[in-house]
């Protein structure tokens, strides 16, 4: 079945960015002039996703408005600017038409499996991408395209990965165990959180996000039922491990030609901003000169 739906988890408080995130959702933090979540949405759309479910909370209205028609006040200001500003109007219109957006409030226990629970009734019996809004992998073709291509071929859950080499990374990522199908694909039989190099079963590190087969929703339901009172609801413990145990096919997919950006804390966010700004054609040369002088 064609992959056309995606769920984006965007319900966090963004406490690592306070006080800034008092005024706006962290998913709306700009990388130069576009919110982080827009980069993710654009990649999804380029990969053929048509329906995007964003799981948020009461303070995330800015995300909904961003992917809606622009307000008339702004539009009339841009129209008054004449042909010079027409490209902004076009860009804003395109933003509202990128995909069918649906917004759900997160409900349920704390943990990264809960957004899937909150969106389950909108997913139906089809595969879907599950992504976090602060995880950005820039790749050619984009990471979602690579995942979907592999799904179309193998029809199992796809776990996007990078190959890790440094010791610290084995203490930082979840590492996949299993048998390599080829250079870039691993048929997975286990996942170990932060095993350290000595205990790592491979060098495939999971970077966040999944392309799930439809049957994951049964595990969401079952996982919630069996979750002990007060426990947190996690993808690895409640979904991935039980599915592997039942012999469901999982594949680690090395994302080729990729660079991964984390925007989850201030330092990593700022590093990402600088890297993105340098690559921008409209800023690159002036910004490069500025950095050269600054250092």
């Amino acid at each position: 079945m064609k992959v056309r739906k995606a769920v984006i988890a965007a319900a966090g408080f963004g406490t690592r960015f306070l006080p800034q995130t008092k005024a706006m959702p962290k998913e709306m933090l700009p990388l130069i002039d576009k919110p982080i979540i827009q980069y993710i949405v654009e990649d999804m759309v380029a990969a053929g996703i048509t329906d995007i479910i964003i799981v948020g909370s009461s303070s995330k209205r800015a995300i909904e408005d961003h992917f809606d028609s622009a307000n008339e006040d702004l539009l009339s200001n841009l129209r008054a600017g004449g042909p010079k500003k027409q490209h902004y109007i076009d860009e804003l219109e395109a933003l509202a038409n990128l995909a069918n957006f649906t917004y759900v409030r997160q409900k349920g226990p704390y943990g990264n499996a809960t957004p899937i629970l909150s969106a389950a009734h909108l997913i139906g019996n089809e595969p879907f991408i599950y992504a976090y809004a602060d995880d950005l992998t820039v790749a050619t073709p984009n990471a979602f395209q690579q995942m979907i291509e592999l799904y179309d071929e193998l029809q199992g859950t796809i776990v996007p990965c990078i190959r890790v080499t440094k010791d610290v990374d084995f203490d930082r990522y979840g590492i996949l165990g299993g048998k390599q199908v080829n250079d870039d694909v691993l048929k997975m039989d286990s996942a170990i959180e932060k095993p350290g190099r000595a205990n790592a079963p491979s060098d495939f590190a999971s970077v966040g996000g999944y392309l799930f087969t439809p049957d994951v929703l049964e595990y969401v339901e079952a996982g919630l039922k069996t979750l002990p009172e007060g426990e947190e609801f996690y993808v690895t413990n409640s979904l991935v491990n039980p599915m592997l145990k039942d012999g469901k096919p999982f594949y680690g997919c090395l994302i080729k030609n990729s660079k991964r950006y984390d925007t989850g804390d201030k330092l990593e966010y700022l590093k990402t901003v600088v890297d993105f700004a340098l690559q921008r054609k409209d800023l690159g040369d002036d910004f490069r000169e500025y950095l050269r002088q600054k250092v």
Binding site: L29, Y88, E91, L270
Partner: protein
């Protein structure tokens, strides 16, 4: 002499140069690392003794109102139930709320730097106040508003903040002043020209940052407004220019030991983001390290 305790911040722009992020978010709340740009302005005002701040916005800038308002219930609860670090964040947020008394006035539909002053004036009363913008600021050894207040106290006249700017493109961007130096860095303004171009500039001092507005400026601003041709912008500088031409004293104060930061377009916003990250108490040292390495790897020496 009236002690200055009020400030007006103009924050009513559309931020079109920052689109698409400003489709929804006011440009004044875009982050510099972890604080909205406008907070740096507000912090400097509060440090200078300003107690009441009127922010002039256009409709729909609710993020701005919320930022200086009460902490949203869910977030407050989340922070209260967290660890010590989260409690500290809650205190930090309460401190933002307590920086000053905030009031919001909606700007009427007239462009230009003069309009926010007229919109806020009815709420100020017969006293001098600071007028400043939400997207540029000084980082100064001595608070830039305090430098301006000192000039005001000495000469009892409206004050321009200024710094010398002499690049060709600057003369097409800023308002320029000329006049006689009363004391080092303090000018008795004789001419004000908006974006004069290099050949017509009355001096080297460009109007940057804010102003101290005395009550007698307002009638001039109203009269400029009455005579404004349809479709023209109302520039605040035009009122000061009219005052000067009328023989009234207007002061320009050069802000010394200070670096000026602008966030009005993408490039300036990026440069200011980097500069604030380098200075940041928490991530500064690591960010500097990153920057050195990044430049070495990505920007050739040539």
């Amino acid at each position: 002499m009236h002690k200055i305790t009020k400030a007006v911040i103009a924050a009513a722009g559309y931020g079109t140069r920052m689109l698409p992020i400003t489709k929804v978010l006011p440009k004044e709340v875009l982050p510099l690392v972890d604080k909205p740009i406008i907070q740096l302005v507000v912090e400097e005002l509060a440090e200078a003794g300003i107690e009441n701040i009127i922010i002039v916005t256009k409709a729909r800038k609710s993020e701005l109102v919320e930022y200086f308002g009460d902490i949203e219930g869910g977030l407050a609860e989340h922070l209260r139930n967290g660890d010590l670090a989260k409690e500290a964040l809650l205190e930090q947020l309460e401190a933002v709320r307590g920086l000053a008394n905030f009031a919001f006035v909606e700007q009427e539909k007239l462009y230009g730097t003069g309009t926010p002053v007229l919109d806020a004036a009815p709420y100020i009363g017969d006293e001098p106040f600071i007028y400043t913008f939400a997207d540029d600021f000084f980082v100064a050894k001595q608070n830039s508003y305090m430098q301006m207040m000192a000039a005001y106290e000495q000469y009892d006249a409206p004050v321009f903040a200024c710094q010398p700017r002499t690049a060709d493109e600057d003369y097409k961007r800023y308002g320029y002043m000329g006049g006689d130096e009363l004391s080092p860095g303090v000018i008795d303004v004789k001419a004000v020209i908006e974006q004069p171009g290099k050949e017509n500039a009355p001096g080297k001092l460009a109007s940057l940052g804010g102003f101290i507005v005395t009550p007698d400026v307002l009638p001039y601003l109203r009269s400029v407004r009455e005579q404004l041709p349809d479709g023209k912008e109302l520039f605040f500088n035009a009122a000061l220019d009219a005052m000067v031409k009328d023989g009234k004293r207007v002061i320009a104060k050069e802000i010394v030991d200070a670096e000026y930061f602008d966030t009005g377009n993408k490039l300036e916003y990026m440069k200011t983001s980097v500069a604030m990250a380098v200075r940041h108490s928490e991530i500064g040292p690591q960010f500097r390290q990153f920057l050195n390495q990044f430049v070495k790897e990505n920007i050739s020496e040539s």
